[in-house]
Amino acid sequence: MQHFVWDRVDTLAEAAQHAARPGAAVVAGATTVSDLMKLGVLEPSRLVDITRIDGIDRIEETDDDIRFGALVRMADAAEHETLKIDYPALSEALWRAASPQLRNAARLGGNVLQRTRCPYFRDTDANCNKRKPGSGCSAIDGWAGMHAVLGTSEQCIALYPGDWAVALSAFDAEVEIIGPDGPRALPFEDLHRLPGDTPDEETTLGPAEIITAIRVAKTPRGRASTYHKVRDRESYAFAAASAAVAVELADDEVSDVRIALGGVATKPWRAREAEAALKGRRLTEDAAQRAGEAAFADAVTRQDNAWKVPLGIATVSEALMIAKARV
């Protein structure tokens, strides 16, 4: 473990200034960064601790949206009354993530930037185009049991492991960012990149940009939503497959629906084909199953992870029925 400077900043301006220095990494809960530093995967020379900055540690509601400060703890957001009642998918995605200890430490801004759990990314003796561009992909040559089936490339099949970003993808969300050129906002869907030929570039954030807030537009679909997380053990496990679903019915037919997938794709995955398959139809178990199948129509599987497709289909289908019951 190499020596590094720990910068504690009090203002966003100060944070942006320090973040622009070479070798700097911005941290809040530091749950991912410290883990990867211990493994030798990340070697920042400077950690910019933004947890003392005022004003970005609150959840604020207006008539139109809910604004989550980047420093809100996962545990606190999970317990937020509005979320629990009006947007259960957003609450469930948080309390079903990680462990209580991690949820007490990790903040929302950092959470959506969580790095993959691909074992080869985490192992400096393995080849990984994401960690070391051009070095190859040990997962494609090796064990791919937990890897993505959607959004993969010839260079990378690493899974996006998080939960909350998947739930956000089922809503109209925006990311507020501050950077050297001042503040800007970005549709949440544009935050994460597909791996393509540059799997090391995971987001569209500039090198010195910092997420300050995430804004979710209010919608009646929120109440009829769920984050359905399927996994081998009951808690403290990454999703084998997950689906964030929000539905709106009119005259027993699906008037609007959002479906986003986790545990199966290289980024938080909006399943528009599945949504299209449902719109204007009655939400029956059969229709839900067909929507699931549409979501995975383009899946690229390997021997080790082919099971993610039938599991993903079942997850989507079950999530839709859970959401329907909440309409």
Partner: protein, 757 residues
Amino acid sequence: MTHILSTPVNRIDGHDKVTGAATYAADFALADMTYGRLVTTAAARGRVTRIDTDAAMRVPGALHVLTHDNMPEIAALESFYAGGPLQSSFVPLTSTEIRYAGQPVALVVAETLEAAREAAARVAVTVEAEPANADIFAENAEAKPAPSPAPTDVGDADDVLSSAAVAIEADYTTPVQHHNPMELFSATAEWSEDDQLTLYTPSQWVKSVGFGVAAQLGIPAENVRVRSPYVGGAFGSKGSLSHHVTLTAIAARHVGRPVKLYVTRQQMYTVASFRPASQHTISLGAERDGTLTAFKHVQRAQTSRFDDVVHSGVATTTRMYRADAIHGHDELIPVDTNSPGFMRAPNEVPPMFAVESAVDELAEELGIDPVELRLKNDTDHDPVTGVPFSSRSLRQCLERGADLFGWHDRDAAIGSMRANDELIGYGVATATYPTMMMPSSARVRLDGEGRARVQVAAHDVGTGAYTAAAIVAAETLGLPVERIEVELGDSVLPAGPISGGSMTTAGMSSAIQKACRDVRDQVLAAAVAKDDGPLAGENVESLDVEDGVVRGSNGRSVSLPELVAAMPGGVAEVETGWHHPKLSQKKVDGFYQGNLAMAGPVTDSHAMFSFGAEFVEVRVNRHTRSIRVPRMVGVFAAGTIVNAKAAASQVEGGMIWGLSSALHEETVIDPATARFVNANVAEYLMPVNADIPEVTTEFVEEHDEIVNPLGIKGIGELGIVGTAAAVANAVRHATGVRLRSLPIRMEHLVTARQARR
């Protein structure tokens, strides 16, 4: 007389453990301490061509880098399985050879843990790697006959099978699994000026570690003291001498200061042992009425390329049921890993998963209730040698377990039991564990205040051995358990059994009981010989001793401690040894030299085993096929239970680990590099509390004076044995899918369902 034996007793060390007062091996803080760190290699096979330590030594605080270049010569010893003390016969750093991924190639010593870690990261190791394979299921992995045991044969199993009214045959597999004790491996080594070495290291056998390190280093055994007062989980992983211990001692000698070395969680997966992967072919033949006619079990299990590690399940499984013809034999598949080793019920967990799954398959084929089929083929004689079981209460376990679980409510039709969106399955499997007895000695001292001290170089690996020792002494001396002080886990104490093979309590307790009785007899002999004492002139045989009070024929009564107080020196002390009568004197002598020596499980007169029956309910989600287990019931028979409370915890914990083994645990092997992929506790799944259901356990009463005078059989491993098969059988009942490979996960069920569509 008041009995404490077999009652529920709180752990005498419980307070120290929960308050942090208990000193585990790595808790000893020594003056002038330095810190060690292992450097391991990624390559799984090949050789080290160069180790550059310059950058490492430039780290401030770096003191030494031990590599094959500067490693002193040490004596070659045998592996545990060849009768030696070593985890594996291949000792890293004694050559440039690389035999497995994650093999230590250097040990760095520095002033601080941080500096050691930093310096270790800067050791530059150049290797010439060769292709390697760590997977016994790979196409190029080849089986060879196991050197021992000899195949088991009764009649001609193949012949009987070929003409059986009903016959089934299937292959079952189990993966590599790791112990993952909470307490990491560690070693702290301190040399005195007169060449005395003290090692603090978590161990299941301090005596063997002491003898082993002394032999490797060529110093007298009495110069090495090994201390391991508490162990934070071991499960077999701390049973043999792992190389990091000796390397730490060597490094400490070089730097002339104490060295403390932790093995990292990731390194825990490679520097010591693990449960080897295995494959089992089971063939069963039966009459239509369920009478077993043929039983055949061929086991092929992983070993390293340098040690023949045999965990013969066949020796146990062939004794499970009566059959006209029996065949069993073992094969080994060497691959490029470290030598595997024992992990809780090493010879039983994989083989019994296979056999008890197969018995269930036979029951289904015959249309006979799985409990009935097992009862029908129960036997009171060893099916292999014909000698009687010393005791066997399998029937009682099955019948009581079925009642407790509500087995009779089971609708045998597959998929017939449902609740909401869940398919319900009930499964049963039996458990067995051989009763082996290792010798033990013990020193007991009774003082005039009514306090007793018990000393044995046995170990409390979290099982409650301290409390068991206190209970046996309290019972025998008629003292309250609070008056007993127990010392364990130190090689200078009288030799005790290895904490393995579920042998601690039986061996240790037998020696403690004998020592306590000798102490009592010594006190009584002194009392009757004392002319002016209250028992002057009495005959020892006519004295009545109850609850620590001695009554003479003259009606006078006096407490044992009072008699001790009147003795010269005011204390009575005895050190004595116990061994099972079927164990040869040569073996007993070997035990006191640090060698393994066991009586049982099968002698010329008896077969000695414990038994159990486990019942599991599974719930399978109709859509995703995720598997949850809401309840388990286990009923066991293991002779005398010393501490009802700790025993319940022990078998409950065993069943919980069995559930984990069934549904979660698998060390994944990278096919390209022969490395373990998920070497961390985030991706190597074990259950969380929310996964653990209602677990109900009971012991049936069983008296067996053939195993040892107290009738103790041992319960350390029994609980885990049957769980995996019970889960597999329940999953079959719920879904119709028969899964013959562990772990059983929703991925397999969801794939099976897709295949049927």
